[in-house]
């Protein structure tokens, strides 16, 4: 990456042209700061490091700027200092965790959350105060990236928590019904047992993050088959899905909590038979799935509270499902963006319809 000597005048010319512009225009400086933050999202070993170094160099108006992670190999933008001066400085900083060198070559340690994360190298006559600010800016960006990563981890932990939430009351009922059928209808009991195994497998298994609509519908079917055994004639079920959307990828356990919710809060408290309809269809580039019951329904304000996650604390009875609904809503928004939250249509005595809308393709979402 060394630049031949005869190119120096050109660099000088570029600097003198760039100089007044980069300092006088706060908008450009702010934009560059923003770019640095975005480029460093993946940390100092990410793909955006070179772009970030370039922006820092412009911001500082220095000859060259290098960013090194803990491996000690800097990524340079602009002219690199001759010889192995930089290498020695980096080694010093990594060793002592304090700044080293003086203009025209400085090296500053980058501490993220009190831990050494890398080194900033500045080549050229940049003002010290400015260099310090730049180092602070880089540290802030790195910190932000880490926070985002940990937020993602938290979301995954939440998903794992949701998987563990199989209602004990459902397990008990299902097993009791199966036990009662073992003598009278052994074949049916065996089928239900297999359904139960499928259901448990799907809910507890440690899969990747995403699955397909086909698999999710299969999980719903097993759940509904068990519930039909428990509730008997009271539960009628229609599941219908267009073949066009079977292959759509979506996060795990998005639909099952909705169906559980429809059965437990729509049909079970209801006197007399109830109908649960699950539909999946294509609409433009989106896949729309709706879960509808003609049960007791609920107060729209309460539904709003549930989606906002507020009802979780006071909902002592059947708390998990309500948490589950809010959890589904949040996960959908995290994966697809704020336009893709759950939509619930409900009123007391009018049944409930919950609609999930997901794009057929979203980068990164793969079963």
């Amino acid at each position: 990456m060394s630049v031949p000597a005869d190119r120096e005048p050109a660099v000088e010319l570029a600097r003198s042209w760039r100089g007044p512009w980069s300092r006088a225009d706060p908008a450009a400086a702010l934009a560059m700061a923003r770019h640095i933050a975005a480029d460093l999202r993946d940390g100092l070993a990410g793909t955006g490091v070179r772009a970030a170094a370039r922006s820092v160099r412009r911001l500082l108006d220095a000859d060259g700027v290098g960013l090194a992670d803990l491996s000690g190999i800097p990524v340079w933008a602009g002219t690199q200092p001759a010889g192995d001066a930089a290498e020695i400085l980096v080694r010093q900083v990594l060793h002592a965790e304090t700044r080293a060198g003086r203009p025209p070559l400085m090296a500053l340690p980058l501490h993220v959350q009190d831990e050494l994360a890398g080194v900033l190298l500045v080549h050229g006559n940049a003002r010290r105060a400015l260099v310090k600010e730049a180092a602070a800016l880089i540290v802030e960006s790195l910190q932000r990236g880490r926070l985002e990563a940990s937020a993602e981890q938290a979301a995954q932990a939440e998903l794992r928590a949701l998987r563990a939430e199989i209602s004990p009351h459902f397990v008990y009922n299902a097993l009791t019904v199966i036990a009662s059928l073992v003598r009278s209808e052994p074949d049916r009991a065996r089928d239900l047992m297999l359904d139960f195994a499928d259901y448990i497998r799907y809910s507890l298994a440690r899969h990747g993050e995403y699955t397909t609509v086909a698999d999710e519908f299969h999980a719903i079917e097993t759940y509904l088959a068990l519930q039909r055994a428990v509730l008997g004639e009271r539960l009628r079920v229609q599941v219908r899905v267009a073949p066009e959307v079977l292959a759509v990828a979506l996060p795990y356990l998005v639909l099952q909590p909705l169906v559980e919710n429809a059965v437990r809060h729509g049909i079970e408290p209801h006197v007399g038979p109830g109908l649960v309809q699950v539909r999946g269809e294509a609409e433009g580039n989106d896949c729309v799935i709706s879960v509808e019951d003609d049960g007791v329904g609920m107060d729209p304000a309460l539904a709003e509270g549930i989606l906002a996650g507020r009802a979780a604390s006071d909902g002592v009875q059947d708390g998990p499902t309500k948490v589950g609904l809010a959890n589904v809503d949040r996960r959908l928004r995290t994966v697809y963006g704020p336009w893709y939250g759950l939509v619930a249509e409900t009123a007391v005595g009018a049944g409930t319809r919950v609609v999930v809308r997901i794009p057929r393709f979203q980068p990164g979402v793969m079963p």
Binding site: T47, R50, D187, R188, D191, L194, R201, A205, H207, G208, T212, A214, D215, F217, H218, E221, L224, A225, R228, R236, V237, Q238, V239, R240, V241, A242, P243, E244, L246, A247, A249, Q277, V278, R279, G280, E281, A282, E283, G284, N285, D286, W339, P359, R360, F361, P363, V365, M366, P367
Partner: protein, 595 residues
């Protein structure tokens, strides 16, 4: 042409049947009293019928026969290319594309190269290609409706546009596989049954041995089989090979003509609004640019420039099919890569079966409806032939069947295109991600309608050939190299799309301007693929090599996902190893009440 009630009934039947099947297929499922096994994947044969149903457009149904009538054996390259495009799709694209999980072309660009900018760029070209393909569909609809009801051209175009847009609004013509599969069988019937009957009549009348058909091999222009009156609606230039007497009423060769006229063997111009009357047995003048006599019609590739045009067409159609927006979307319905490949194989079979018939009709038309050559409206051959070959009720019924098939062709292809274009528009273009699918649908319907009415209708297949050239010069390099070449970068892909697209669009503009101002452009401008496709490939490769720094970091993972066999489970069930092989699970599941 006066009102043809049979044909009207045919059109109405098609529209009704389309509605009814869509309605019924959704009703059936939802009134099933009890539990319906929901996860039933579509069989690849039905999926293939749906792909073919959506693909067989006006260009295939009307255009191929028209071009065979006009250009003879060289026009056979259109059906060959339309079919061979699927071979390339199957061999290079189908399975990896399905495994990549992309739904539209912009999705693929984003999944493979991870660039939002490239996604935007490809969106623009998807919309371009979609609209360019829609225009001839709507113009063909205008032609058909004019033929059947004698209403002006724009009525038919508007009718189809409105039906499609309203259908998509109401969800009636959603991408339902059953409906599109039905459309294929309908079209096959609508062209095969009349062809069989007409061939039988032709053989009964003497077949190949009569003087008429041996005339096809002579160095003479085709002759009129009955007295013919022709209304010229757009100005044409006609080449006369044998001097002919005729009655003309209007403006011929720049001078007013009344009554008996003699045309010497040279090129004559006829203005719009002129009425020409020819007599039985006199030779047929042919529009400029088409082979004037039967011998050169029979013989392939008369000149060197024709040979280059043929190669250009081969390149455009062989590679263009994979870049058409409504084709790729259908592959998403396949459960996995292997099924996608099998579906494409079925499509090859279904298309091969279909294209036999328009070719036969085109050849028969040369004998029975040569007057279409005078007006240049050779696209009408499929509609006009039945009443000529079998006068009376039989001809009218057969004509009604072909008209209905043509109508089905416009409807299915247009809805497929409108849905794809509207989907892309609503996802990527409309401001603030309003995701307004209906607004997108309206735009995707209205803009091509405007173009269809404004632009002069040329041969349907030629315009369609242009959209193939555009697809082959923009998306084909990105798809092929994206799937098989690890060093593709988004900068290279973008450069290829821009350069290839700009070249084709430039040629399109030059060609159109030249059409209006006296045909001065080199014929290559009407089919530029032979230049633009290699250039686009070259640009993509060179620019990618120069910008290796922007290669996506996860290229290996994406390639693994695209190419790993489905059974390894990179796109489906990951936990075979943990929960037993698929065979085990199938064994466990046997005898269950739901299977």
């Amino acid at each position: 042409m006066e009102l043809n009630l049979w044909a009207l009934a045919g059109l109405a039947t098609v529209a009704f049947a389309t509605f009814y099947i869509g309605y019924r297929s959704s009703r059936l499922a939802s009134t099933t009293p009890d539990f319906l096994v929901a996860r039933r994947a579509v069989r690849s044969s039905r999926n293939a019928a749906a792909v073919s149903g959506e693909y067989l457009s006006a260009a295939s149904f009307l255009g191929v026969a028209g071009l065979v009538l006009k250009d003879g054996v060289d026009a056979l390259w259109y059906p060959i290319g339309f079919t061979a495009g699927y071979l390339a799709l199957m061999v290079f694209v189908a399975a990896p594309l399905r495994r990549s999980g992309a739904y539209t072309l912009p999705d693929f660009c984003e999944a493979r190269l991870g660039s939002r900018g490239l996604r935007g760029l490809s969106t623009v070209f998807v919309v371009f290609i979609g609209m360019l393909y829609l225009v001839p569909q709507l113009q063909g609809a205008g032609l058909t409706v004019t033929r059947v009801t004698a209403m002006p051209n724009w009525v038919g175009s508007a009718l189809v546009a409105v039906i499609v847009v309203v259908n998509v609004f109401g969800g009636g013509m959603r991408a339902i596989t059953v409906v599109q599969a039905f459309q294929y069988w309908l079209k096959l019937f609508a062209i095969a049954a009349p062809t069989f009957i007409m061939c039988a009549l032709f053989i009964k009348n003497g077949g190949v041995g009569t003087s008429q058909s041996t005339g096809l091999t002579e160095d003479l222009p085709p002759t009129f089989t009955s007295n013919a009156t022709i209304n010229v609606t757009t100005p044409v230039e006609l080449q006369v090979k044998e001097a002919v007497w005729l009655l003309a009423e209007g403006v011929v060769d720049g001078a007013p003509a009344h009554g008996s006229t003699f045309w010497a063997a040279k090129t004559h111009t006829v203005d719009a609004g002129t009425e020409l009357q020819f007599f039985t047995g006199s030779s047929v003048p042919v529009v400029v640019g088409a082979p004037a006599d039967n011998a050169s019609w029979l013989r392939p590739v008369p000149g060197t420039s024709d040979m280059f045009l043929t190669y250009s067409l081969i390149l455009a159609t062989f590679l263009g099919t994979m870049g058409l927006p409504h084709v790729l979307v259908r592959f998403y319905t396949n459960p996995d890569g292997r099924a996608a490949r099998r579906t494409t194989l079925h499509v090859l079979l279904l298309l091969s079966l279909f294209y036999l018939f328009p070719m036969l009709i085109g050849a028969l038309s040369r004998l029975y409806v040569p007057e279409l050559l005078v007006t240049g409206r050779s696209d009408l051959a499929v509609l006009a032939l039945p009443s000529k070959i079998a006068p009376g009720v039989l001809g009218e019924v057969l004509g009604a069947i072909t008209a209905a098939g043509a109508f089905a062709a416009f409807l299915s292809t247009s809805s497929g295109l409108v849905v794809s274009v509207a989907g892309v528009l609503s996802t990527d273009v409309l401001p603030g991600r309003v995701r307004d699918f209906k607004l997108g649908t309206a735009i995707a319907g209205v803009v091509p309608l405007g173009l269809a009415i404004l632009l002069r209708p040329t041969d349907i297949s030629l315009t369609v050939g242009m959209s193939f050239a555009l697809a082959a010069s923009t998306f084909a390099p990105v798809l092929l190299l994206g799937i098989w070449w690890r060093n593709l970068t988004w900068v290279g892909a973008a450069a290829g799309i821009v350069v290839g697209g700009a070249l084709v669009l430039g040629a399109l503009v030059v060609g159109t301007v030249s059409d209006y101002t006296g045909h001065w452009a080199w014929p290559l401008f009407s089919q530029p693929a032979i230049v633009t496709v290699p250039v686009a490939f070259l640009i993509v490769i060179l620019v990618s090599k120069a910008t290796q720094g922007t290669k996506p970091p996860d290229v290996n993972r994406i390639r693994l996902r695209m190419h790993a066999p489905d059974r390894l489970g990179f796109i489906r069930d990951r936990d075979i190893a943990r929960f037993g092989s698929p065979e085990d699970r199938a064994r466990l599941a046997n005898g269950r009440h739901r299977q």
